[in-house]
């Protein structure tokens, strides 16, 4: 059993092998094959591709390429939103996610990142949407277990509660995990993203509880810019915002997380306008300097 002493925070200095790049960080501007090479060439130990990266590609070939470059797939992004206005649409959403889980398995992904979806258009029933999410995850868990790909529920910042995710805190995600998978099968857990969770006064307690339950499946970093200009595409590079990322990583690692630290930055007006080499170099520097 893990003891507290075993969870001394890792030193990321010269350890980019402990770090992963989510492909969104580069803005989805190049073919996935090129991105795999760039990430590996820069010395990172992992990559987290999106479904859009694999459109029109041979998933098995991509998986081989990732493996050949020695990269861990820290997560596969991301689920089709679950809540729907009709039963038929809900069923299609489940089917879409099952198909994506097969690709996640092919890629050898450490988890399938579940951004669960907001409220259906025109709805004012957030609790109803949350109930659909619970049903949907329940419907996917068997497939996840069969394919050996854990589902990682990613609580999204409350500013996305209407349109992207009705799961908004780690505590809420953990509560859902315990309700759906009380025996902790190992195939249902949580992705903790600094951007979404940093503000939460209950975060330290929630992360510790998630760790005790063996539910910490991923850890994403970027920064919250004080003067955020866009609610979706203005995330900051680590060190450029207000989040104490080292304290947060300590919290997550103290709770037992021993996976990679994944950088996920959406930045239309800044980083996505820069060269991939510059983005990756800055990520590497900042991971070691401030995370």
């Amino acid at each position: 059993m893990n003891t507290r002493e075993q969870h001394i925070m890792r030193d990321l200095h010269q350890r980019l092998d402990l770090c992963s790049i989510n492909t969104a960080t580069l803005g989805h501007r190049e073919p996935i094959g090129r991105v795999i090479d760039r990430v590996a060439d820069a010395g990172f130990g992992g990559i987290a591709p999106w479904r859009r990266d694999l459109e029109g590609e041979d998933v098995s070939a991509i998986a081989r390429r990732i493996e050949a470059r020695g990269l861990t797939v820290t997560g596969y992004c991301r689920s089709t939103y679950l809540p729907a206005a009709t039963r038929e649409q809900f069923a299609r959403n489940i089917a879409d996610n099952k198909a994506a889980l097969h690709d996640a398995a092919t890629l050898g992904a450490r988890c399938f990142v579940m951004v669960v979806g907001g409220m259906p258009d025109g709805s004012r029933d957030i609790e109803g949407a949350r109930a659909q999410v619970s049903d949907g995850i329940g419907a996917l868990l068997d497939t996840a277990r069969e394919l050996r790909v854990p589902l990682a529920l990613e609580p999204l910042h409350p500013m996305y509660a209407a349109d992207r995710s009705v799961i908004n805190t780690v505590a809420q995600a953990l509560h859902l995990c315990e309700a759906i998978d009380p025996g902790s099968s190992g195939f249902l857990g949580i992705a903790v993203d600094a951007y979404h969770c940093w503000w939460d006064p209950a975060l330290a307690d929630s992360v510790a509880a998630a760790g005790r339950a063996g539910r910490l499946l991923a850890f994403h970093v970027c920064d919250w810019l004080r003067d955020t200009r866009d609610m979706l595409l203005d995330r900051g590079m680590m060190g450029d915002g207000v989040i104490d990322l080292r304290a947060l990583r300590r919290c997550v690692e103290d709770a037992g997380y021993d996976g990679l630290v994944e950088v996920e930055i959406f930045s239309q007006a800044n980083w996505w306008r820069r060269e991939a080499v510059e983005i990756l170099g800055t990520c590497a520097h900042r991971l070691q300097a401030v995370c």
Copy 2:
């Protein structure tokens, strides 16, 4: 003692006397005297002015005018932010708030609305800012008690945690109230604003607990637009967004809240471009139709 039976939700139909207008809803475009008349003429029972409305005005004269029109002052907006980079600035923030509390008392305000402030510029220490907020509220409570003006902590949406408020949930605000004022003096409580709190999975429990503690001092409504364009100034009119406002009012009134329902809408690109008469008429209609 209140029993649950006494808390049957009020019917707002033909009861605009139970409703209040926060002057921000009209965009601060006219002198406060004119706004008082407009709000009273439209049949509302209350008004919540901002400090900026009173700049250069005789506060006692404004207070007499509000009273003459039969309006309740449901809140006085709002506190100077508390967290500061230096002790001197912190002391000035406290002094500013004490001065504002005197004006709140002159106005006969039901509460002084505390938007507590974010992290000082350049800081990454949200817990430090929260500690300063706690100290600051403690420093103001005696003045509030002497002046008989309750402090209403308003938890702000987590998207404002960096720059406007490090208090972000009702549960957190209640915890702070209990720590600072364990005997429940009656001069420290909470303002529940639909816009800030609607997403919170713990909201019903938190509001019930705040009600049991006698801490519910104000209830603000507007709506969260699914396609929010601006993080500060794009609040929706009740009924135009995703919040189940009637369910939320039921929750607040079930918890014992018996004050007025206050409309507070910041809407630079929409409502603030319309005539005051249209805004007030729409508020009146929507309060009765959807709240």
